[in-house]
Symmetry: C2
Subunit: 197 residues, 2 copies
């Protein structure tokens, strides 16, 4: 009887290799619009390098406008359905600051920019991350039109964030994010769905 089936005790999560170049060629971003342009550019790189879905997320130091972490959709690349852009950016930001809360004492004020409104999982991840501000570009409707499921996100979900003190800003450079989505469709990027895999 096989009682000692081999199972994994660890995994490594990595950004695509091109992130090194990307991260060095950009100045700090002084305002929401420039932060989102950079976030959408990150999403575009993910499509152009064929390393994942058309989604990017960046945690910024709100004061300096310098990125603290980057995240790109890495579900298919790393065979891990949890690795949406927001989840990657949150985990890498926490690794960078060395704390599970992104609003713990003695940290700069941090904010999450995402090229698309968070799905149900990422909305929960935002809640638990301690991030106090999230800024989004494309809408759920945009993602759904592209063929991606967003899960059960309702007006109550957004209200829950607000009650917990998380500021949400939507629709910043949505046009830029939709352009990246169109590029993904045009390049026949994978619309992954666990039940059609």
């Amino acid at each position: 009887m096989n009682r000692s089936r081999t199972f994994k005790t660890q995994i490594e999560i990595t950004l695509p290799e091109w992130i090194g170049d990307f991260s060095h060629r950009h100045p700090p971003c002084p305002d929401d619009e420039s932060k989102m342009r950079l976030t959408n550019e990150l999403a575009r790189c993910n499509v152009e390098h064929e390393t994942g879905g058309p989604f990017g997320a960046i945690v910024f130091d709100a004061e300096t406008g310098v990125p603290v972490s980057f995240g790109v959709n890495s579900v298919a690349r790393l065979n891990n359905s949890v690795l949406h852009a927001e989840v990657m950016a949150i985990m890498l930001a926490q690794a960078s600051v060395g704390h599970y809360s992104l609003c713990a004492a003695r940290q700069p004020r941090l904010e999450l920019f995402s090229s698309c409104e968070p799905c149900a999982m990422c909305l929960g991840a935002v809640l638990w991350s301690g991030i106090e501000r999230i800024v989004c570009a494309a809408s759920h409707a945009d993602a759904t039109a592209l063929g991606f499921d967003e899960g059960p996100v309702t007006p109550q979900s957004w209200a829950y964030l607000a009650e917990r003190g998380v500021e949400v800003v939507r629709g910043v450079d949505a046009r830029g994010a939709r352009q990246v989505m169109r590029l993904y469709r045009k390049s026949r990027g994978l619309i992954y769905d666990p039940r059609r895999a």
Copy 2:
């Protein structure tokens, strides 16, 4: 101007060291009750070893009753707010089978057991994982009574799972899971909250 702030490009996610012992001392589990007893025991080990919150999750091969992956709450241990038990079990199962979908072709039928009903983030993670059956022990009310926030999970959220073909079974050995929660409270385990960190 500090353009080249150091940021992380990778993180490693590991189970606690005691998982090696734990995984070898158990026979396959023939039914839901024995699977959940093992899951609750996993949660208890996490409390007793002081490696995280009182939550455990196991992905089982539904046919053989052999665990495919283990997950324990690792938020404080690894400084990563995403690492709830369910998320860890899902990511490690996907690493084990080498696919982002746990219902992809040529896999055994897999099911997720969790010592507590999933929070908003984990419910979304279940949706995207491709898992087709989730069995839970303690309820949201139990977790909330202990002081943990569960996020925006509504009847619509559960309905969404059902619509996507995910079977949900609740309340299996809830008593066992609540005992682990009481142990955690008694041992003054951390009720982490990003906004009180």
